[in-house]
Symmetry: C2
Subunit: 389 residues, 2 copies
C-alpha cells in the first residue's frame, strides 16, 4: 500500500435532523467531542481548526468568524481557526485544509469540522440561501434551483441510456433508505419501496420527493495528524480538490470534473477504481449516484443503473455505496456532509459499523462530495481515498 | 538567515477606494493580473487558489463560492479553490492557507487573493455587515461597533500612560497620511495636520474621523511557492495565525493574543524584534498602531507614543511603520487588507517602493493583520515575517 498523506485519528457526528434548539456551536460541540473521544485526544491536543459551514451567514446571521463563534461552545479558544466555505463541499474542503496543515509541518494535530443549520422555520429562506451556492444570477435571474439542474441531468441520463428507467432512480433511494434505517445518526430511517418513491409528490420532473435529499441540521468532525497516534488511525491516501466542468453524459464525451478529481485522487494514492471497496458519494438527488459511480470509474459508462438493479451497490453487494444512507437518508446538512461521509468510511474501514457493517476484500474507501455551481462549472469537487492501517 | 517557510513570487493590488462599477471579480482580476506579471507567472502556473473575502455574502449577495465566481473574471477555472474567511484578517488567512498548500507538497504554486466591496450605496448596510465580524450579539444586542471597542481601548491607553495625549493618536494619522500621499494605490492621499485630525468630527469619543480608517473597495493577490522561482522572490520566514484574548493594557498584564502571535512568528523564523526593519500593521484606528507596536515587541510597553512623537516610525525613521499609508490612508477593504500589507512589505524589501522607499539595515519585514471579535477574544491575528533573498 502507498504511503499515507495524513491520518484520521477520530471522527464524530451530531446526528442529522431537525434540531431547532441547538445553535451551530451546540451541534459542533457534540461532533467535536465525539471525534476527540474516538481519537483518544483532548482539546489541548488541537493545534488548528478548519471549520466548514455554508449557510451560517444567510441563515444564522453570523458571517465571517463562524468557526470561532461555534468553537467557543467546545472551549476551543486561542488556537488558529480557518473558516472554509465551498457550498455543499465545505467540510471536505475543511478536511483538505486540515490535511495541508499537518502535511506542511506547521501544525501537529488539526481539527476539521463541518456544521450546518438549515431548518430556520421558513423553508423559502433556506431555498434562497441555497441559491447562493450557485452563481448569483443562476438562481436569482433564471430561477434555477439545484433540483432543477439535477432534473435536467436525470432526463439526459435516461435519454442516453435506453435500458434505464425512472424506477432505477427509485431503486437508489430504496437502497439508501434501507442503509439509513440501520444508522442511528441518519435523518430519515424509514425503509421505502420503489412504488412509494415513484408515487411521492413531484419536485422537478422527473424527480419525486423521495428521490431528493432533504434539508438538515447537523455537524461532523475529524481529528487529523501527519504521523498516526494509534493503530485505529485511518490512513488518508488521497485528498483531491477541484472545480470545473459539469458535464451531463449527453453534452460532451469528455471527462467531467468529477472524473478528473477521481483521476487526481487515484494518481495521488497509486491505486485504482478496482481497489475501492466502499463508497460514500453525493446523492443529493438519486440519479446523481448513478452518474457519480460512472464518473468515478466504479461502473462502466452507462451501466450504473444495471449495477444498482442487480444489487451490487447494496450493503451486501460487491461494492456497497452510501452505507450510511447517503444524502437521501442520512441527510444533507450541507456544510457538514463531506466529513459525515468521511466518518462513515472510517467507521466501515475499522469494522465498527455494527448492523450496517459491510464486508469487502478491497482495502480502499472513497468519498465524493460536490458543491456549488458557477455558470457551467461545479465550484468544488472533493475526493478522498482512505484505508485502514 | 533561517530557512524560508515559502516564497512570495509576485504581489499585486487593485487600488483601494470607491469603485462602484467593479464587481468582486473585476477587482480581483486586476490584482491577480498584477501579481502574476510581478512574479513572471502565467495563469496556467496556478495550482490552487485561496480566496479571502468577508462581506460578499452580506453585501454582494454571493455566499459560499465567492472565490470561484470572482476568479472566472481572471479565467481561473478548473483549479481547486478554498474560500477562506476571517473577518478583517481574511486575506492574511488565505495567505496562511496558501503557504500550507505549497509547504504540504500537495501543490507547487498557490495564489492567495483578498477582495472586498464595501461601498454599496447604503453605509448603514455596510455597518450592519461589519457587525457580523463580531459575535452576533455584541453588535445586534449591545450595539457595540468596532469603533466603540477601539475608543474604549484608546481611553485605557491614555489612562495607563500618563505622558500620552490625544494628539499622539493624531500624530499616527498624520504620519500615515504623509506615507499614503506617496502611494498611487492609496485611498486617501491628502496630507493632514495634527490640528485637522483633532478637529475632524467625533466618531466615538475620544476618536475623531481622521483617527479611524474608512471603508473601501479593493483587491490584493500574491503568488506563493515552496522553492523560489527567481531572485526577486521574497522569503516567508514565518506565518503565525491565532485567536485569543483581546487585552487592553489596563485589564490584564498578561500577553495579548497579538503578543502571542508575534512570539509564535519570531520563534518560527528564529529572529527577534530587533531584526525587524519595516512594519505594516492594523491601524484600523490610530491608537491601535501604538498598542500593536508594544504588543509586537517593537516598542517598550507604554512607550510607542514617544517613539511616534520622536519620528522613529516615520518613513525616514528608525523603524518605518505603515509606509503604504496603513489602513488609515491606503484604506481598509477588509478582506483585501492582509495581502495589501504583504504586498507593501515585499515591495519595500525589494527596494521597489519609489518615492516612499524606506532605508533600513535590518532585514526583516513584519505584517500584522487582525480580524473579528468574539465576546472577549480576537477571532484572528496573523503575523507574517518576510525577508528579501
Amino acid at each position: 500500500m502507498p504511503e499515507a498523506l495524513a491520518h484520521i485519528e477520530g471522527v464524530g457526528l451530531h446526528p442529522f435532523g431537525r434540531h431547532p434548539e441547538q445553535s451551530l456551536g451546540d451541534l459542533a460541540a457534540v461532533a467535536i467531542d465525539a471525534a476527540l473521544r474516538d481519537g483518544g485526544c483532548e482539546i489541548g491536543d488541537i493545534d488548528v481548526a478548519c471549520v466548514g459551514n455554508s449557510l451560517g451567514g444567510a441563515l444564522a446571521g453570523q458571517e465571517t468568524i463562524r468557526g470561532q463563534v461555534a468553537l467557543r461552545s467546545s472551549g476551543l479558544t486561542g488556537i488558529p481557526v480557518l473558516n472554509v466555505e465551498n457550498a455543499c463541499a465545505s467540510s471536505s474542503s475543511a478536511l483538505h485544509a486540515a490535511i495541508m496543515a499537518v502535511r506542511s509541518g506547521m501544525y501537529r494535530t488539526a481539527l476539521a469540522v463541518g456544521v450546518e443549520k438549515m431548518y430556520v422555520g421558513d423553508t423559502s429562506q433556506t431555498l434562497r440561501a441555497l441559491g447562493n451556492a450557485a452563481t448569483e444570477g443562476l438562481y436569482r435571474v433564471h430561477g434555477l434551483q439545484f433540483t432543477s439542474l439535477y432534473a435536467m441531468a436525470a432526463k439526459a441520463y435516461l435519454a442516453d441510456n435506453p435500458g434505464a428507467e425512472l424506477a432505477d432512480f427509485a431503486r437508489v433511494s430504496v437502497k439508501n433508505a434501507a442503509n439509513g434505517a440501520r444508522n442511528d445518526a441518519a435523518q430519515f430511517r424509514r425503509p421505502r419501496t420503489v412504488e412509494q418513491v415513484l408515487e411521492s409528490r413531484p419536485i422537478a420532473e422527473p424527480l419525486t420527493l423521495l428521490m431528493c435529499c432533504g434539508i438538515a441540521d447537523g455537524a461532523s468532525a475529524a481529528v487529523v495528524t501527519a504521523a498516526p497516534r494509534s493503530d485505529r488511525a485511518v490512513r488518508v491516501l488521497a485528498s483531491a480538490l477541484r472545480s470545473g466542468a459539469y458535464r451531463s453524459p449527453r453534452a460532451d464525451p469528455g471527462p467531467s470534473s468529477v472524473a478528473l478529481a477521481a483521476r487526481d485522487a487515484y494518481e495521488q494514492a497509486g491505486v485504482g477504481a478496482q481497489d475501492v471497496g466502499v463508497v460514500e458519494l453525493h446523492d443529493a438527488a438519486a440519479p446523481q449516484e448513478l452518474m457519480h459511480l460512472e464518473d468515478l470509474g466504479l461502473s462502466e459508462r452507462g451501466r450504473a443503473w444495471e449495477m444498482t438493479r442487480a444489487g451490487e451497490t447494496a450493503l451486501d453487494g460487491r461494492l456497497p455505496v452510501n452505507p450510511s444512507g447517503g444524502l437521501l437518508s442520512r441527510g444533507h446538512a450541507i456544510g457538514a456532509t463531506g466529513l459525515a461521509q468521511v466518518a462513515e468510511v472510517c467507521t466501515q474501514l475499522r469494522g465498527e459499523a455494527g448492523e450496517r457493517q459491510i464486508r469487502s476484500s478491497r482495502p480502499v474507501g472513497l468519498t465524493l462530495n460536490t458543491g456549488g455551481r458557477t455558470v457551467d462549472d461545479r465550484a468544488a469537487i472533493a475526493v478522498h481515498l482512505l484505508a485502514a492501517r
